[in-house]
Structures are given as C-alpha cells and as structure tokens.
C-alpha cells in the first residue's frame, strides 16, 4: 500500500471509528461550543501490534470520549506524510495526540504525548496494563487530557447502574459511561431493581424481591456478597444514599401508608420524615445532603416536593401535569430533572429551583427516570420508544442522543455520583521526543 493511500484510508478509518460503536457524533460544532472546543488530531497509534487488538478496546473508546468531552473535537487527519507541528497545522488543529503502544509479555504499554501547535509537550504519560485494562487506560487517558486543557477531569470513568432482564429476571447491572462493558452485578434470580450509588461510588443500594418481600440490599460495584438493610417496614423501595453520610433515604410503609424514611446503612437509627396519610415516594438527596426531594400524592396527584433533611420546610415544586415523579438533583443543586406526564406521555422535565422555570426534553414514547452525569452535562434516562424499555443518554440540551442498551429490557439508570477511582496508574514520560520544557508544568498538573 502506498503511504498516501494508507494515510487516506487511515483518515477515513478515523472518521468512521467513533461511528462504529452506535455513536452519532455531531459532525458540525455549534458556534457556542466551537469557541471553547479544541481541535485535536489523533493519528493511529504507532505500534507493531495488529490494529484489531488495539481498536475496539482502546482506540475507539478513547476517540469516543474525546469527541463527546465537550473540550475536544477530533480533527480529521489530512492526507500526506506529516507529523508533529506540520500535522497539527495541516489538520487545522490545536493539539496532536501522539500514541505509541508496545507489548511486553502480557502487558501493554501506552505512551501518550499531547503536543500543542508550537510543538511543546503539554502532557506526556505512560500507562500499563493487561488486555482487559485497555478500555480503562483509554478512559483514564481521556480524563487526563481533558484535565490538562480544562483543569477538571472528564467523566469517562463514571458508570451507570441499571436493572436489566436480559438474563431472565431483572437484576442489577453496570455499564461504562459510553455503554461499553455491561456486566451483571446481582444474581438473585428474582426481581431486583432501582439501584442507587453511594457517595463514594463504590456501593449501590437496591430493592430485591428474592425473599418474597421487597427488601433493601447493598452490594459493591465489583459484586460479591450483598448486605441486607433491615428496616422492619414494608416496601423498602426507592432507596438512595446520602451524599454526606451512611444514611439511606427510602420509601417504607406501615399498614399501607408509604412515607419517606431514613435509616443508617446497617439498619439502625430509623427515622420517619413524612407523616401524611397520602402516598409519599421516590426520595432523592440534594448534592450537599441538606434537602430531600420526593413525590407525594397529597394534592390528589403525584407531584414533586422538597423538604429539609429532617423533614421540615416542605415546598411543592411541580404544578404542571397530573403525574410527576423521579426527581433528581443536578450536581450543582440548582435544578431538578424529573418525569412529567405531558399529553398522556411521560417526558423528562428540567426545573430551575431558583426561577421555577421548567423545560421539557421531549422525545418519542415515554421517557422516565432521569439521572445526571457527575459533571451535570448529560442525562441518562429510560425510554420505551423502541417498543421496549432501553436506556439512553443525551446532553442536558437534548442533543447527542445515544442508545446505550439493546439486550432485553433495561431501566432504572443511576449515574455514579462522582468519578470512580480508576485504579489505573500512570507515570510521566521523562524523555519526551519533542520538547521537555513543559514537563514542570505537566508535573504540577498531574495529581493522581
């Protein structure tokens, strides 16, 4: 293959890579975003390894993360044998990500250098891991690159917990933020639903019916033994961890009167927060832990309310529509996303708590159970628009819609509250090939 032909096909390949994984990347940047988005050229990694061993587990998730980062846009690689500053200029980019991948025994070694348009090394890091670690290396590298440019890490190591019946009964599952790596966490062989992350994103609390009653359990994100949270009450649904303690808010019922309760994660210190004869459901803590939103039928129809974490100072939030539920706070605490019935179908509504203005993110079918990404830029939700419940992700403005699940029925998404520690170690590259003037700066920036 001639070098030019090779580079041309490489260009096409790079353009097609993100699309390969059911992705719809916006080809054009909108004007507002374009002002703050850096174009980055990402040529194929320099390696002697077969492309297929690198592409799916590493290169595809890396370019997907960067394309969706809101910080970078992937610049197409122009034809011609170019590298370094020439390549950056020809691609009309601000950055070049030069990747080199080697294999030593079972271990892959990924060298990543971020070079700016002056040829200066902005970041140089080396990542190591077995074949199974390649997606984690890709997400960690993307996070590191976003942090170099933006000062804040990306969300590419965050996870979405959900319930899926693809193995028979609904069980608790996990997936990466991009829908990859979907894995089953519980094996109750019984209805198990409504997972909710702990503040450190290491555990989930959920409801399972495997004893014939509905009970709360806690399980590690790595699976293993579940721990029962005894309450002595019925229901034990809609469980949600406090962001600041080991408390769990949930719906408990005595004699058919569902109310909001709080209990410690070991089942002690049970407290009742609501005392109405109506149905109360679906509690959710504010990000600072001082307030709890919930759904109540006290007005005659399910509506969204907030209260202080001790049950005082109840305020009604939703007034529109005859059925609202599933409220969840934006990470900065300024907005609530919730499920709102509009013209007979459920839609995601986002309400500003200060102005009381709300907007609908309309979609086909019914759209329920919104959950915010840790950076507040995305919302995952469930929709039956395909005829079956599946989980989707979109930007908070409704753009960049992406279906994340396809097998069986999938629901109850809950996005991890913060970046889960990747556990992926990396080291600074001490001898950059281009220019090491920036290494000091880089050293200060890389705090892992």
């Amino acid at each position: 293959m001639k070098p030019t032909t090779f580079l041309l096909s490489l260009t096409l390949l790079l353009a097609a890579l993100p699309l390969a994984a059911q992705t719809q990347i916006h080809p054009e940047l909108n004007q507002n975003q374009a002002l703050t988005i850096a174009r980055i050229a990402v040529p194929r990694p320099e390696t002697t390894l077969p492309l297929e061993t690198i592409n799916t587990p590493f290169f595809a998730p890396l370019t997907r993360d960067l394309a969706y980062s809101g910080v970078f846009a992937i610049a197409p690689i122009p034809p011609g044998i170019l590298s370094g500053v020439e390549l950056i200029k020809a691609a009309g980019a601000q950055f070049l990500l030069a990747l080199k991948i080697d294999q030593q025994g079972e271990e892959y070694i990924v060298d990543a250098r971020l070079i700016d348009s002056t040829g200066a090394l902005q970041s140089g890091r080396r990542y190591r891991g077995g074949a199974g670690a390649l997606p984690r290396i890709a997400h960690t590298l993307a996070n590191d690159l976003v942090k170099v440019v933006n000062g804040k890490p990306g969300i590419f190591m965050s996870m979405i917990g959900f319930a899926s019946n693809r193995s028979g009964n609904f069980e608790i599952w996990l997936m990466d933020w991009d829908g990859a790596n979907q894995r089953q966490i519980t094996h109750h062989n019984a209805l198990s639903i409504l997972p909710s992350w702990s503040a450190d994103s290491q555990r989930m609390v959920y409801t399972s019916f495997f004893r014939g009653t509905s009970d709360m359990y806690i399980i590690s994100r790595r699976g293993g033994a579940r721990v029962h949270v005894p309450t002595g009450l019925n229901l034990n649904t809609s469980a949600t961890f406090s962001p600041i303690s080991n408390d769990i808010a949930f719906v408990g019922s005595v004699a058919g009167n569902p109310d909001i309760y709080v209990v410690k994660d070991d089942g002690t210190n049970l407290r009742r927060l609501t005392h109405d004869s109506s149905i109360e459901s679906t509690p959710e803590w504010s990000p600072n832990g001082t307030q709890i939103s919930f759904t109540s039928g006290r007005s005659g129809s399910p509506q969204i309310y907030t209260m202080d974490a001790d049950g005082s100072n109840v305020q009604r939030i939703s007034f529109e529509g005859e059925w609202n539920d599933d409220a969840t706070w934006s990470p900065d605490g300024s907005q609530l996303a919730y499920t709102s019935r509009v013209n007979g179908r459920f839609q995601i509504r986002i309400a500003d708590l200060a102005t009381h203005q709300s907007r609908i993110l309309a979609g086909e079918g019914s759209n329920e159970q919104p959950t915010w990404s840790p950076d507040g830029k995305w919302i995952a939700f469930q929709s039956n628009r395909s005829g079956r419940w599946q989980i989707y992700r979109m930007r908070v403005d409704g753009n960049d819609l992406l279906q994340l699940t396809f097998d069986g029925e999938n629901k109850d998404p809950d996005w991890s509250k913060k970046e889960a520690a990747s556990g992926q170690q990396s080291e600074l590259i001490r001898q950059p090939t281009t220019d090491n003037r920036q290494l000091t700066t880089d050293n200060q920036r890389t705090d892992h």
Partner: protein, 200 residues
C-alpha cells in the same frame, strides 16, 4: 377426634368439593352446613414451593377414602395448582381498581367478602396479597400505590373476621402485569390485588 370420625369429616368435605365447580365465581359452599366448621378440608400435603410451605408428614389421618368418586376433585396438593383451582372456583377472588386509586369498589368488596368466607373456613392456608398497577404511572410511585392497594384489601378482610396474622402483603407495582397489552382492557386487568394462598 378419633380417626374414624375424622375420615368421615374428610369424606363429607371432599364430597362437597365435587359440587363446588358447578357454581363458579359464586361463594362456594365448601363445607356442608351440617358439619361443624372446625371439620373442614384437611391440610393438604404441600409441595414446598414457598419458604413457608411445610410438607405434612403424618399422612395417616387422610388415607384416601374407599369411595371411587372422591379422589377426583380434591384440592390439589401442589400450591400452584391449588391457587389455579381456588381462583377458577372463586374460593378467593382478586379485587380490581380504578386508575391511580386504592379505594375498594363495590365489586372489589364483593370479591373480598367471598374470599373472606372461604378463608375463614379453611384456616390451614395463609394469604399473600399482591398489589399491582397498570403501566401508565411511574415505576417508583406505582410500587407505593400497589402497597396501599394490597393493604386496603388486607384491612377489609380483617374487618370480615380473617385473622390479620394470616395475611401478608407485597407490592409489585407495575413490574408484573397480568396482561402485557397497552390498552384500557389490559390496564384494567393489571390494576388489582392478586390473592395467593400459601401454606402455613
């Protein structure tokens, strides 16, 4: 109670069961009025399909009666089959609800009254009431609504004299629809309290 007398009571009760299928959905007079109410259908050996079901080990008390006819229509020992029979003969009857409502309608009260009558005469079974909702609400609120529906039925049965200790409730919300359809006909079937007999 001596064994001969007990076997006699069993025979009476089983004979009554043969008559029962003729009156679907009605309150089934399971036991003939002349028999003391304590002499009802004997404990059936339950296959262990639920955590609470206990197999009856002492079968000597109800060795099959000699009559050919009585073996045909006895209450099934298998708990799932028993529930099918109990539902089809109307021994226990599900209660249905309006949308986003947990009020017991007149029809629901009639169904529960029939169920209470049978349950009081057949103390060897406990009852699980499952609260169900149609798909038009939201999952989390519907779980709470199903809990309220199930408890409405429980309280009504208790006022009719069924021992509260025999009744347990669980809400499945919209998780387990009886009819997978997406129209009012299906929704009406899915808004219900489902009564399930369980072993003691």
């Amino acid at each position: 109670m001596n064994k001969t007398f007990k076997a006699f009571a069993v025979t009476i009760a089983l004979l009554a069961l043969i008559v029962a299928p003729a009156c679907h959905k009605k309150v089934a007079p399971v036991v003939t009025p002349t028999v003391d109410t304590s002499m009802t259908v004997p404990p059936v050996p339950l296959t262990v399909t639920t955590a609470t079901a206990q197999p009856v080990t002492d079968t000597a008390d109800f060795v099959s009666p000699k009559t050919d006819t009585v073996a045909v229509d006895t209450l099934p020992g298998d708990i799932e089959e028993l529930n099918r029979v109990a539902q089809s003969r109307g021994y226990v009857q599900d209660a249905f609800f309006e949308f986003n409502d947990s009020t017991l309608s007149a029809a629901a009260q009639t169904a529960l009254t029939s169920s209470a009558t049978w349950l009081k005469k057949n103390g060897q079974y406990n009852l699980l009431i499952e609260g169900h909702c149609d798909e038009r609400g939201t999952e989390q609120y519907n779980l709470a609504l199903g809990d309220r529906r199930a408890n409405q039925a429980k309280e009504y049965l208790v006022t009719l004299g069924v021992d509260a200790g025999r009744i347990r409730t669980v809400s499945y919300g919209e998780e387990r629809p009886f009819d997978p359809g997406h129209d009012e006909s299906a929704w009406a079937k899915n808004r219900r309290d489902h009564l399930v007999l369980v072993g003691k």
